[in-house]
């Protein structure tokens, strides 16, 4: 009987002591956290995508609370999140143009010439080891082994017909794919931008013709016909100036290679 009592007593006292020590320690070792930081952290998307340029959501929340970071950097949370954070910090929201990823390549399976059949690991970086340009003849092409798919936290990337494709409805514009792409071909473009040439090849037209059924040959037709002078052929590749583009979509219609992509539903082009 006495040993039962003793056992209860010993464990009870032991537990009591530990509890007291922990309670005491939590006071001594209390780390002061800016209440703003916690409030901001609660507003963020919580994906830890790193799109803001800080190590995870906690890092960004700490930077904002310290006044070191702008309030609209959380790309995953979007405008709603930026507004909440700005309200906590008591500053103006400021415009944060949502971005989306874009893969400027149209060299789908069967349309882009191949140097050899690649059977190695399913990894773009590994495929690049063969002369630094994968198995497609076009050195600017998407390899299509899905390093971007692996890093996308939002399921917005998929491989369709051998090249990466962005699901614009799911993309939050964190830019993780652009960073993961070993060829650095994935670009971040403003979500409001409707037209983009889906080619990245700077080679001369005749060479592109041989390598890919869809590559930009630098024919300058888009440059000549653009009503806003927003599209220019630079180094044998059409480039859209997003600040000038009026989103009319004319270039997409007239491109002889059909590589200028138009996103979303077409509005009647206003002829000016």
């Amino acid at each position: 009987m006495s040993s039962i009592l003793l056992a209860i007593l010993v464990l009870g006292v032991l537990g009591g002591i530990f509890g007291a020590v922990l309670a005491f320690a939590s006071k001594i070792f209390y780390v002061e956290v800016d209440p703003k930081q916690e409030a901001i952290r609660a507003c963020l998307a919580g994906a830890n995508c790193g799109g803001c340029g800080y190590p995870g959501c906690d890092g960004y929340a700490a930077a904002v609370a310290a006044g070191e970071a702008p309030t609209n950097r959380c790309v995953a949370g979007g405008a709603e999140c930026a507004e909440k954070v700005a309200r906590i910090m008591g500053v103006d929201v400021g415009a944060s143009e949502p971005m989306v990823a874009f893969v400027p390549c149209s060299g789908t399976e069967g349309h882009a010439e191949k140097r050899f059949n690649y059977n190695g690991p399913k990894d773009c970086q590994a495929a690049m080891l063969f002369g630094g340009k994968s198995n497609k003849t076009c050195t600017f092409a998407c390899i299509g082994l899905g390093n971007c798919v692996k890093v996308c936290q939002f399921g917005a990337m998929e491989i369709v017909d051998g090249i990466a494709k962005v699901n614009r409805a799911k993309c939050v514009g964190c830019g993780a794919c652009a960073e993961a792409c070993p060829k650095s071909i994935i670009k971040m473009i403003p979500a409001s931008q409707k037209v983009m040439p889906a080619c990245n090849n700077h080679d001369k037209g005749a060479k592109v013709m041989k390598m890919c059924d869809f590559g930009c040959i630098g024919c300058m037709k888009c440059q000549r016909e653009c009503p806003a002078d927003a599209i220019v052929v630079k180094d044998n590749l059409a480039v859209v100036d997003v600040t000038k583009c009026v989103q009319c979509g004319h270039c997409a219609d007239i491109c002889p290679r059909h590589i200028i992509t138009y996103f979303g539903k077409r509005q009647e082009a206003t002829a000016e």
């Binding site: 464990l11 032991l14 537990g15 530990f18 922990l22 070792f29």
Partner: protein
């Protein structure tokens, strides 16, 4: 004395490796071994906690439980000590060594439920180790755990890119490779040092 320490260390790291021959701590071994970096973090945290737990539990055992003839309470008391200890260490690190705290991160609280930690303190009692021997057994046991988990993580990193039948995708191939690693470590069993 020194030979004794060396034999305990080698025994804990290689011959009676906690994971591969005693099968303790298998849960974090499989859960935290997908990358070498995280495996190293987990390993370091285990070394740290096992060493501390061995020392403190030895004191509690000798001067409280044995003295009061309450040895049957060992398991219960040790769990209490380990849980409180891990909590305390976490708070201490957060305040004093934030860099180490962020490095160990989530692994520290996870260790509370790691059976290897409870195993090492119970084995200390079973083997009648003195204070120094307990401490050495705790730390080297942790090092053995770290060796195992880092080795296994590097194996897993490689299997990710290798060609194996699709039905082995994911956990199955992981368990198969863990089994092979354990077999390799079984080669040490029965060895005697000094």
């Amino acid at each position: 004395m020194l030979t004794n320490i060396i034999s305990i260390s080698l025994g804990a790291i290689l011959i009676n490796n906690f994971i591969f021959s005693q099968f303790l701590g298998c849960c974090p071994f499989l859960g935290c071994s997908s990358k070498v970096e995280t495996a190293t973090g987990m390993g370091l945290a285990v070394v740290f906690v096992m060493g501390l737990a061995s020392a403190i539990c030895w004191v509690i055992d000798q001067y409280l439980l044995v003295a009061l003839h309450l040895e049957f309470l060992q398991t219960l008391a040790f769990i209490l000590v380990i849980a409180a200890l891990v909590q305390f260490v976490e708070m201490f690190l957060k305040k004093s060594v934030p860099s180490l705290y962020s490095a160990l991160g989530i692994y520290l609280p996870l260790i509370t439920t790691n059976c290897a930690v409870l195993g090492v303190v119970l084995l200390n009692v079973q083997n009648d180790y003195n204070f120094l021997e307990s401490l050495v057994y705790g730390i080297t046991g942790g090092l053995g755990f770290m060796l195992a988990i880092v080795l296994f993580a590097s194996v897993r990193e490689r299997t990710e890119f290798s060609d194996y039948p699709e039905c082995f995708e994911g956990f199955p191939i992981c368990l198969v490779s863990a089994g092979l690693l354990a077999l390799a470590f079984m080669g040490f069993s029965g060895m005697q040092i000094f």
